[in-house]
Symmetry: C2
């Protein structure tokens, strides 16, 4: 009896697990139906004793593919992908329903492994470069959410679900306590060892130079060629400001071999740099 | 006894579930530590009886944040994000370890809801446009993995884990059986109702025109202004070919208000179109 009850419970939980992890809202009916079905069955773990998935004609998705963290019919991970791929623009706050999702993403291993994937590509690219030998190659680094993390601030301010508050955010910046993003620092150090000069280019303003330098040093950064901050009161979009500064670097004879940031406005606008890298950031949008 | 055994099993399974869904590889030590910790605890469902998460100094990630579908230290979902954000380029095949991951992504609801998020943004943008009233606004649509889906082919060919085989793929194309991508068709129809003319621009070649038209019609598409296919034997990158065709549209007096595709090579290269939309595609890369 004990075994039977336990078995029933295990079955129930396994069924729940299977239902939550795989949800076939997409189906196919076509000449190769049997082969597709076989492929679909191979995808279902322990599919041998599971009912064969029904293969339907493709049709508009009615309802949803899981109810976790939805907002206007779109789950939070689809919202995040739309943000990261620049499909979603000019947003003000993380959807309220996605606070937990974004929090878990940022605080767990997911954000870190996504960042690592980007940096792995950046390092592979840097290592493949043939340098001119004249020390003119530079790599542009954004600071916030690229070189340093403001996660301590955002973790206590709703993970991006509340409107940007420049007063409280600047107070946090002036603490100079933002932790390093270790993946970016790995790239930073690798570039130095290759002979590519790092340049910081940030939307932080000139009056924050001292605390920014202190914060960067405290977190282990050293040996950058330049730290370019925005003149106080300078009015321009991030794209205009940052591409203007990159143009100046180029005009001074430097070759921007790479450019990394967490916002599309860090890496769009000519001259972008020979290759650009977009780090994840589901916390805020800068246009 | 039955209850005790069952309870133990339930506990074990719930613990496994909790362990698999949350994994804190990222930690913080700073003045606001207590507040961050409180935020972290709020994130843990049923956190009341769970041990408080340890808050460490930020440090390079040693080991991994979950062992599912790893490849060179990067989990499959981080690989996919790197692909979708154009951080990873010029790849030939989906990592072998990610076949199941990509298969589940494509066959389950995830691909569909990611596509829906993109199309929701595209429709919101289209609806916000003020049209000139002269019928000159057009929207460029890619075909494969944008308007039609080749998932039936890829589902029986390792979900992108095997090298592209032009012979077998072209055989599939000539069946004319590729199903519609319903989200894209929703955008297509919405644009027509707004008075924006759809233009298909595809890497498919001119000799595939008849079957492509038949396939599109069979799947419910009608009323496009143009179907632009690549001249047979035309040698150029996808970016060069597609931006050249968009230039011709512009030279003919059309205004490309939007451009949607699954590859970055669909939407990069001036003139891109006033706004571009990148649909998900973890199956293959076209440079």
């Amino acid at each position: 009896m004990a075994t039977a009850t336990a078995a029933k419970l295990v079955f129930l939980l396994v069924a729940l697990l299977a239902a939550s992890s795989s949800c076939s809202a997409w189906g196919l009916r076509m000449p190769t139906e049997r082969a597709v079905q076989a492929a679909a069955e191979r995808l279902v773990e322990g599919g041998a004793d599971a009912a064969a998935p029904l293969i339907h004609a493709l049709r508009p998705l009615v309802g949803s593919a899981g109810d976790l963290g939805r907002r206007g019919g779109v789950p939070c991970d689809s919202w995040r992908l739309a943000v990261e791929t620049y499909n979603k623009r000019d947003w003000k706050t993380v959807p309220a329903k996605c606070e937990k999702y974004v929090g878990n993403y940022m605080m767990g291993g997911h954000y870190r492994s996504d960042s690592r994937a980007v940096v792995n590509e950046a390092i592979a690219y840097a290592e493949s470069l043939k340098l001119g030998g004249n020390g003119k190659e530079v790599w542009v680094f954004d600071i916030d959410e690229t070189s340093l993390s403001n996660l301590p601030y955002y973790a206590t301010h709703g993970f991006g679900t509340t409107l940007y508050n420049s007063t409280s955010f600047n107070e946090y910046v002036l603490e100079g306590s933002a932790p390093v993003l270790p993946e970016t620092q790995r790239l930073f150090n690798k570039l130095k060892s290759l002979g590519i000069k790092p340049v910081f280019l940030t939307g932080r303003t000139e009056d924050q130079r001292a605390i920014t330098v202190a914060n960067l040093r405290r977190q282990g950064y050293s040996g950058w060629m330049n730290l370019l901050l925005k003149p106080a009161g300078f009015k321009a979009t991030a794209i205009a400001y940052k591409s203007g500064e990159r143009q100046k670097l180029q005009d001074a004879g430097y070759v921007i071999v790479g450019n990394i940031g967490d916002q599309w406005s860090d890496i769009l606008g000519a001259p972008e740099g020979a290759r650009t890298f977009k780090l994840p950031d589901p916390l805020y949008y800068i246009g």
